[in-house]
Symmetry: C2
Subunit: 254 residues, 2 copies
Amino acid sequence: MLSIGELAAFVGVSTRTVRFYHSRGLLPEPPRDEAGYRRYTAEDVVRLSRIVALASAGVPLVRVGELLEAGEAEFAAGVAEVDASLQAEMKRLRALRSTLADLDSPDRLALPEILGRAIEKMRGAGAPTAYVDLYRDAWILAHALYPAEIRAYLAEFDLWSDPVYLDMQVRMLQLADVDAHDPRVDALAEDTVDWMEANRDAGSLKGYGELFSDERANRILTAQWIMTSAWDRLSELVMNGAQERGLVPTTPEG
Amino acid sequence: MLSIGELAAFVGVSTRTVRFYHSRGLLPEPPRDEAGYRRYTAEDVVRLSRIVALASAGVPLVRVGELLEAGEAEFAAGVAEVDASLQAEMKRLRALRSTLADLDSPDRLALPEILGRAIEKMRGAGAPTAYVDLYRDAWILAHALYPAEIRAYLAEFDLWSDPVYLDMQVRMLQLADVDAHDPRVDALAEDTVDWMEANRDAGSLKGYGELFSDERANRILTAQWIMTSAWDRLSELVMNGAQERGLVPTTPEG
DNA sequence: TCTTGCCTTGACGTAGCGTCAACGTCCTTG
DNA sequence: CAAGGACGTTGACGCTACGTCAAGGCAAGA
């Protein structure tokens, strides 16, 4: 006959834990000896080791109780479910490790040089300060959330060294708070599509599309705090134009 | 400027979580707009995404705060530590998966057939009931905690089919509560060592040693609830005799 | 105007134990 | 045989990292 301390030591938990499991009805209260001490059998060891295995796999104790009371088939199904969640957790941890690897670079708030220079040029070219700041914030955000991807992209495609692209970006910033149907919006949209067509083989457009392909990235781009009605219409016009000229794969879902 | 909901959505947490981090001083309270709403910048996104990354790696929030306030070197060291703990956790989960795989066999409380038959034979041979029960419990325990290993061992080495071994086990059970210095203890010890020497090449001894080589297994064998003073002395005599005849590797640590 | 949705603070609830507190019991050692 | 230390008992409060109302203010579309 085992004491509570021996039982706990066998399965590697504390006595407090065993008593807690009693209070939750997971482990039945064993008979007491004359002194009022709990006395356990091998059967309790089996039950407790099951509980501990499931609990240490992260199964909520309520669910552990259900599984222990359930039939053989349901128990096996439950264990399979737990196993799947363990695999998912391991996947999450793997992903987390690569996130952490990017975390210790202290320059996440510093803009990559290329972008910093480009932004200074835009400021110098008369783009409105407030919107240049928003533009800068958006890139900082993107760089903060996807440092490796952004750096790789910028290293490969230096769009801002192209004076035509730079000029279009300045015009875009200047049109931030004009009326959405201002003719300058239409003009810029046409110029942009022209530029895209001229650069269709440069690879940078494709790279840009790949860069921002997942859901979180989409939230950055469509964030309302950086969107004005003129920009909304501008991006719509550009998307339509690009699709018409076959510069962008038509997405069937819309 | 981001609202708290937008900020939270960017990094994938709830607004409650963001406010909680404010209350813990992990994320500074941002300025408010005229309505009293919190307004965030890209800088806050960076800081929050760091916090979330560390927290979801299981780092306690107090420690997260320390790391964020620490210098670059200490931060890097801390992140390395976290990474190590993630690897350890993945190792734990892998081990847990194999434990779970053994969990759904409903016969963990059932003794393997070989043992069941052996125990019946011992009972028939006049071994005291109470101690046969203890013996049985110990094997149930071992089987409960190490089902795969025990089954593999029993499948390979059927010691109880050897009538000499069976007889020795019965004698052992009969000597449970005699005086530790009863001459029958010495006699049994000598017979046991003789038997071990005769079977030194059978492999079963080595297998037995490997089976119970880790710490938890040791706790089963040395559990006080199954040890009497006579058995204590018996096992001491056997160990000494086996070492003298070179049947067991001498452990340098004692 | 009314509804809907996001924002505010504050308070209480939750899981899975850890950690006293205040006390009885068992075993060993002087 | 007394004393100490290791173990057992119940009960209550503490802890982390939030979730979840409650009770209200502000903004914007039908």
